[in-house]
Symmetry: C2
Subunit: 334 residues, 2 copies
């Protein structure tokens, strides 16, 4: 058995390109006592990956040059030297962008493909779902009747933010790129309105779709859209800073929010979140969202591409918007 | 008796200039039943005034063209048609930039010049002091042993922020312009260190003077100094947005904080404050700070200029840094 791996070979300047990666094939490793060999089926592709490629202090250390790219994964146990797992068990892991990986037992989490499709454990029941759930409820603190605005709304995090806010009784407006995504938000996910940032004046559209102003803004994109949202916040508004995908490939400094003094005028709060802070509550989030999924109140959408060798190009779909829902790469057959 | 008034005649572009003001002299008004005529002694000059001159939605309506400029004042009652005040009473009011004004009784607050010098009621025991006290304690929430960084540190708000943080057991570093102000902060007010932004690399100086990072940053200035502070915040840091004096006379858009994603990396919070929200607690703040003043723990410094006709130029001392402590204009003899 052979194992194809994607390693980071250069720190990208601007958009990551194929020459920033090394694709090589090695022997499948052998687990030691207490370890488990996992065949990865699905790999999670996330905007945060772009930050991990930079040599900068952040909430997690950078991926080293020559190291297999960090990624969340789900797979199946093919060999176990731990009494906690047996061959055929499905597991969540963080084995990176490769087809096989060895893990100690405590870094694996068993999942049940009969409760939810396997890919869901990388989307709504995985990190993006947890980010949305805890970021919205613990930091955004939406109250029934309030207006929640979310950017990157057709993405893995934003689509869950909007649906959870609807479940909590809020008016929900999503910002996404293109008519298809906007139609999807309103017609499939039940958003009250959607704004197509590629074809609309966002500030004007926020004014029209949020006639009572914005109480919670959940930001995944930064840049001009963050400024447009700041211009329409209500008193005591909560702004959740989850990401800034519009800025990640910048070769110029990040665009700071020129309208940040709206926080002063409106006594608003802008707070950054990182999902790892809620690690001890993931079970709670997964159980609640699993229940909503089973009741048909929460929909999970994944966009699955094929083939580990395509990783460099598939990653770019995060930034060019050429996907809907959670972006996943399948690297082995089920 | 005559009353000289300063009225806004044009909305300034960039720095306010003399031609934006009308100086005229009218008869002193006569109070109606329930009203009081006050001779103003001191007028408060505040950075917030610059915002009130713009025709923009804010936490308070703009001053109208042709209207007497809004300002906080302290003065003495010279004629009373209210049973709540008698001639000779000293009062805090908001009678604007003029020598005399009529007020209803409920908009006046009696003050005692034997408890604190009259000018103190426009500084540490007035709006700047309340802004510092509630902004720091209620939003910044400093804990003993934490590091508190404050900009505009030699100003009316910043100097109180730093001293209150010292009283609460924090390490306190102030940012101010020029050696005299920095010496004053360390030698007179007991700050642990001061950074001279006119002559030092602020980011490097923050690193050196805050070796354990910044837990609370109280921002009065915005711009590059806000970015320098964001670069050094600790996990769960609290950033209090009180003002942005570096940006108020901009003719270009406000510089947003390019380093705002430090909030995400460090799960920090940036919150805007307006002192009016604490109106029902001013007595509490005044009593606590009055006690600290009487115990010698809190020093109040006022910079008093003379003559209502000099208002246009004296106002500019807020922006060119040519003052230390609270800027006040005396417009009548005591």
């Amino acid at each position: 058995m052979k194992n194809t791996q994607i390693k980071l070979t250069a720190r990208p300047v601007g958009e990551p390109k194929r020459s920033d990666w090394d694709i090589s094939t090695v022997d499948v490793p052998t687990p030691n006592d207490g370890e488990v060999l996992v065949k990865t089926i699905y790999i999670s592709l996330d905007p945060a990956m772009r930050g991990w490629m930079n040599d900068a202090k952040s909430y997690i250390r950078p991926v080293r040059i020559g190291e297999v790219m960090r990624a969340g994964t789900v797979g199946v146990v093919v060999e176990s030297k731990s009494d906690k797992f047996k061959t055929g068990d499905f597991v969540m892991a963080s084995l990176g962008v490769q087809q096989y990986g060895v893990s100690d037992a405590k870094s694996l989490q068993k999942v049940n493909p009969n409760l939810a499709p396997l890919q869901t454990y990388l989307s709504t029941l995985g990190m993006p779902g947890m980010t949305a759930y805890f970021g919205l409820l613990e930091v955004g603190k939406p109250q029934a009747g309030e207006t929640v605005l979310v950017s990157g709304a057709a993405g893995a995090v934003g689509s869950v933010v909007g649906q959870v806010a609807k479940i909590k009784g809020c008016r929900v407006v999503g910002i996404a790129g293109g008519k298809d995504k906007c139609d999807y938000l309103v017609n499939e996910l039940g958003f009250d309105a959607a704004i197509d940032y590629k074809n609309e004046n966002v500030q004007k559209a926020i004014k029209e779709t949020c006639p009572n102003g914005v109480d919670v803004y959940f930001d995944n994109v930064g840049g001009d859209i963050l400024d447009a949202a700041l211009a329409r916040i209500n008193m005591k508004a909560r702004i959740v800073i989850c990401g800034a995908i519009s800025q990640y490939n910048n070769t110029t400094p990040v665009k700071g929010p020129s309208n940040y003094l709206s926080l002063l005028v409106n006594r608003g709060t802008m707070t950054g979140i990182v999902v790892f802070d809620y690690q001890d509550r993931y079970m709670e989030g997964a159980m609640q969202m699993g229940q909503w999924i089973s009741e048909g109140k929460l929909k999970s959408k994944e966009h699955i591409e094929q083939g580990i060798e395509n990783f460099p190009e598939v990653l770019m779909q995060l930034f060019n918007g050429n996907k809907m829902g959670k972006l996943i790469l399948q690297v082995n057959d089920l």
